[in-house]
Amino acid sequence: MYRWGMVIDLDRCTGCQACVVACRQENNIAFGGEDQAKLGRAKFWMNLISDVKGAYPDVEMQFIPIPCMHCDRPPCIKVCPVAATYKNPEGVVAQVYPRCIGVRMCISNCPYTVRYFNWHAPSWPAEYKKGLNPDVYRRRKGITEKCNFCIQRIRRAKETAKKEKRKIRDGEAVPACAETCPSEAIYFGDLNDPKSQVSRLSKSRRAFRLMEDLGTEPKVFYLKEGEWNDG
C-alpha cells in the first residue's frame, strides 16, 4: 500500500509561484476575479505565503508554499455531516464533490485554512476554457474543494504500473506543483517506501511539519532553511 507524502525544501524555494499557477491549470480552479479575491474568495489549492521581516534595508523575506497537509488524523473529516470528505487508503484526504452540500464545517475546523468554498458558479476567461483539464471535475457553486495531491495523476501512474505488473516507481506519480517547480523544491512520493526520496528527506534533521502540536499528523513535511552563517 502506498502512503503519499510531500516534502518541500524551503531552502530551495525562491517564491516564484510557478507551483500556484501549475496547480490552477491542472485542477481547473475557477477564476474569481479581483473583486472576489478582495473578499478572500480566491482559491489556492497551493498557496504561497510570504513573510516579510524587518524594514529596508534590513529586510528578510521568507516563502512557504502551503498545500493541503493531508493529515493522518484530519480534523476536517469527522465534522462533515454527510461524509463528503474522507481519507483514502493511500492517505490522500479527498473531497466527494457530488456528495458535498456546502455546510462548510470542514473549512472552519481546518487549522491550516486550506479548504476552499465555491461561492459562485465557476467561471474562466474564454481563451482559458480551451485549456481546461478533462481529467478533473469542474466544481459547481455551493461545494467545498481542496488539494488532493493531483489524485488523477496518481491514478494514471497506477494504471500504467498495473499494465506493466509492477509498483509505481519513485517520481512516476508527481503532482503538478512538484513537476513545475523550477528550483526542484517540492518532492512527492511514497512514504511507506523507505528508499523513496520523500521518505528519506522526511527523516532529515531539517524536517518539520506545521502545527505538529495539534496532533493532526500532516503528511506534508518542510525542510528548514539552512543556517549558512552558523556554518
Binding site: 454527510v82 456546502g102 455546510v103 462548510r104
Partner: protein, 431 residues
Amino acid sequence: MTDREAIAQKHSRILAPLTRMGWPFLITAGLLSAIFLWSFFAFGWQYVWGLGVTGMGHPVSWALYLVNFVFFIGISHAGTLISAILRITHAGWRTPVTRAAEVVTVFALAAGPTNILFDLGRSIRFHWVAIHAQFKSPLLWDFTCIMTYFVTCVLFLYVLMIPDIALLRDRFPRRRWFYGLLSLGWIGTERQERILKRASTFLCIAVIPIAVSVHTVVSWVFGMQTQPMWHSTIFGPYFVAGAIYSGIAAIILVAAILRKVYRLEEYLQPIHFNNLGLLLLTMALLWFYFTLAEYLTTFYGGSTDELAVFWVKLTGKYSPMFWLMVLFCFIIPFPILAMKRTRTILGTSIVSISVLIGMWLERYLIIIPTLSQPRLPYGRGSYMPSWVEWSMMAGLSAGFVLAIVLFSKFFPVISIWEMEKEEKEKTSNSK
C-alpha cells in the same frame, strides 16, 4: 354547557382577540408579511447566484446565518424549559405566562434551524444530513436533538391547549371544523383529565433534559472544533445559561406586549414581571460568571492563538461590539433587576430588550472573531454582512413575530382551563 358559557364570559378579555380584527392588527400583519415575503426574494437571489452574494468568504465562512441560528435556538430555550420547571416545582404564579412562553419556544425553534437551510451551499440537499448521516459530526447531533426538541415542544404546547380548544369549539360554531378536529373530542371527562395530567407530567419531565441537550449540542458545533476560543469545555453550560437568559428576556417582552395590546392587565400582573425579573437576574449573574471565567482562563493561559482572538475582541476590531455586549448583558440589566423599585413591568421590558440585543452580540462575537483569526496568520480576514444576509435576518424575525401574532388570533394566549383549575383549587383550599 352553561358552565362553559360562564367560563367564556368570565375570560372574555382572553377570548376578545379571537373575535375582533381591527386596523392595528391588519397593519401589523401586513407590514410583517411584506418583510417576510421580501426575504423569500432574497433567498431566491442567493439560491440562483450562490452564497457569493453574502459577505462571507475566506476565512470567515460562517457568519450571520449561524449567529441567528444560535440566537433563535437560544430564545427557544426559555419557553418550554421555564414552563416545565415552573410546573414541576408547582410555582403558583406561573399560570398566565406559560402559554406565551410555549408559543415563543415553538416559533423560535422553527426559525432557528431555518438559518442552516440558508447557510448551505446546496440547500436543496438538506435532507442528505438524515440520509447520509455521519455520526461523528456534531451537526448530525444537532439535527437529531433539535428535531426531538421541536416535536416535544409542539406536543407540549398542543396537549396543554386541548381543553381550551374544546372551549373554542363550542364557542365559535363557524370555526367548528377546525377546532373540532384539534380538540380530539375533549369533553372533560374524568378519564380525559387523567390522561391529560399524565401526558403533561411526562412531557414536563422529558422536555428538560432535551432542552439542555439541544443548546449543549449547539455549543458543541463550535466547542468540538479545535479553533482558538471555541475549543472550550465550558461551552455547553455557557450556551445553555445564555440561552435561558435570552429566552426569559423574550418571554418578558412578549408578555408585556400582549398585556398592553390585548389589555390583559388583570391576568399579567406586576408580580409576574417581578418574578420573571428575579429569574432574569439570576441568569444575568450566571452569564457574568461564565463570561468572566471563560475570558480570564483564556487570558491567563496566554496561548498565542487564543490571545490573537482574545485581543481582537477586547481591544481590536470587535471591541466596540464586545463592550456593548457587556453593557447590554450586564451593566444595564443588573442594577435595574437588582432593585425592587425598578423591577416593574417597564423596567423588566427595557432590560429584556437590552438583554436580547446583548445576547445577539454575544453570539456574533463567539462566531466571527474566531474565524477571522485563524492559526496561520496569513489567512486573517474580516467580514461585513451583505444586503441579502440582513434581509434574511429581517425576514426571519418578521416571520417569527408574525407567527406569534397569528397564533394569538386563533388560540387564547393565556391558558383558560388552567386559570380555572387554579381558582377552583384556591377556593377549595380556603374552605
